[in-house]
Symmetry: C2
Subunit: 297 residues, 2 copies
């Protein structure tokens, strides 16, 4: 260690021994995880392939604030863990899911985002294969459900000036689970000019979604959509064996856009390796099953 002494003549060791944290205010740090999966619906026509749906997990709040509303799985970080470890721990406690893809999204810090007190949310994006989730909905009296995600961009306005522009976009989110329909809108204002770049987000409508979780969910979806095109992130949503058409459907449901088969296979089949297994008992030609290929770059 260095022998440097500070203004009070203390070495670092001496300083740390006598250090006591000030009593200024500190925020609670929550982690909130947007966990996506893709599920199959049963198809009436035996010949047709089942349709896929993008879903996220929400938990019904049993206490104030937002009593009865639905919230992202999460909880508070403790001093002996990283936010990532906290996210894994909470997800495991609440869903029993283990070993899943996880990445940090964004830290939301608007004062007032929690009506109780000062709380920041360090949010995470998680992806899980639907075959892995045997989530006991509602372990400890809490109700947990998978909601189908529908998102759309409602309205845009662009205001160009000489040295920049202001663009307003309204994003709508709908979450559906049987009879339960939740929804919300977020207005995103992009301000770009020679004075800098500012993004502001405002929740303009909210039906049944707790805290600022509409915004977090929309942010997660945006990240997922962006990354799907240039990484192998989507493979985390696939079971061990899958067809290339399955994979294509997953891309389509995430991107909200049909993909051209030949081009899709050219681009994304490098993320997979063929097995000698085939599908069977479908009302049409069997399809080869593929596995994930682990790309080291």
């Amino acid at each position: 260690m260095q022998e440097l002494r500070d203004i009070n003549g203390l070495t670092e060791e001496e300083f740390l021994d006598t250090y006591s944290p000030g009593d200024y205010e500190r925020p609670g740090i929550a982690v909130d995880t947007v966990i996506f999966t893709v599920t199959q619906t049963k198809e009436s026509n035996y010949r047709k392939l089942p349709e896929k749906e993008l879903k996220i997990l929400l938990i019904k709040r049993g206490g104030h604030p937002y009593l009865g509303a639905w919230a992202l799985p999460g909880g508070f970080v403790t001093p002996d863990e990283t936010t990532e470890q906290a996210a894994i721990r909470e997800l495991n406690e609440e869903t029993g899911v283990d070993n899943i893809y996880l990445e940090q999204l964004y830290t939301f810090s608007d004062p007032g985002r929690d009506p109780r007190m000062w709380v920041m949310s360090c949010s995470y994006l998680a992806l899980v294969d639907s075959e892995k989730i045997t989530v006991e909905a509602g372990d400890d009296a809490r109700q947990a459900e998978w909601f189908t995600v529908r998102a759309s961009t409602v309205e845009e306005s662009i205001n160009e000036s000489d040295n920049g522009f202001e663009k307003v976009t309204e994003h709508k989110l709908e979450l559906i689970c049987g009879e339960i329909i939740l929804s919300g809108k977020v207005r995103h204002t992009i301000l770009r000019n020679d004075k800098g770049a500012r993004n502001t987000y405002e929740i303009t409508e909210n039906n049944g979604i707790a805290f600022d979780h509409v915004r977090i969910i929309l942010y997660a979806l945006e990240r997922l959509r962006g990354k799907v095109k240039y990484t192998d992130i989507a493979l985390n949503l696939m079971p061990e064996y899958f067809t290339l058409t399955d994979l294509q459907r997953v891309y389509e449901i995430i991107l909200g856009k049909e993909q051209i088969k030949a081009a899709f296979r050219r681009k994304y089949s490098v993320l997979t390796e063929p097995t000698d297994k085939m599908t069977s008992d479908a009302g049409h030609r069997p399809s080869r099953l593929y596995r994930r290929k682990w790309l080291t770059d």
Copy 2:
């Protein structure tokens, strides 16, 4: 408001009136900003163009811990502001710089990253045009300096197994400001397998850089390098008028790779608009000056 009552028979309003935050431990939240700029060096040969250097701002620590080491500009967040507002405030206090590009990077939360107490760092990436910085180095007795950034990947090892792989990369950072040379290494372990995806980072060497700031700086550089290719983010480093060769040099210094002139212009000149100004007094053909074009998508 809703009339829902919780398990104690309270409405949300009543609940919030009587709510008192628990006394569990909370972390301090710091913001630390990696602010980049690109400067020109004087060129001895009057014909040649000046070379460019990528720099970041560091502040010499005047107290423990890490007394005498160099740290990113930053400070603690207060309850009435977002982390972004805190970053802007601190940057303004410490450098006088205003109106700059800012984006959130990552929240670092390793327990023990601050030897004093539990502190998380919400880090930001900032970009500023070097003509704007008239930073009074050392306002309030604190020494602030711009350090030239050199980064390289030192070593790699890949360990492939049947159901995934482990890849280790060592990143080296060198920061140079006159006689002062700081350096550090971060070992990045990427673990990908059917049990999930984990990245771990370990600071394996550190000469004169405070806290875990080596890692934050390397992370910022990675983000900058990634985004430069598919956004107009680099334009935030340019003065109002610049030549396309200037812009190309900025890309080259960020990416650490020469760009082919014709291809570069085809791709990135859409981010600019020509003016009728030209350079002059160079020992070669004058060059047209361009301005940033504000793209609304």
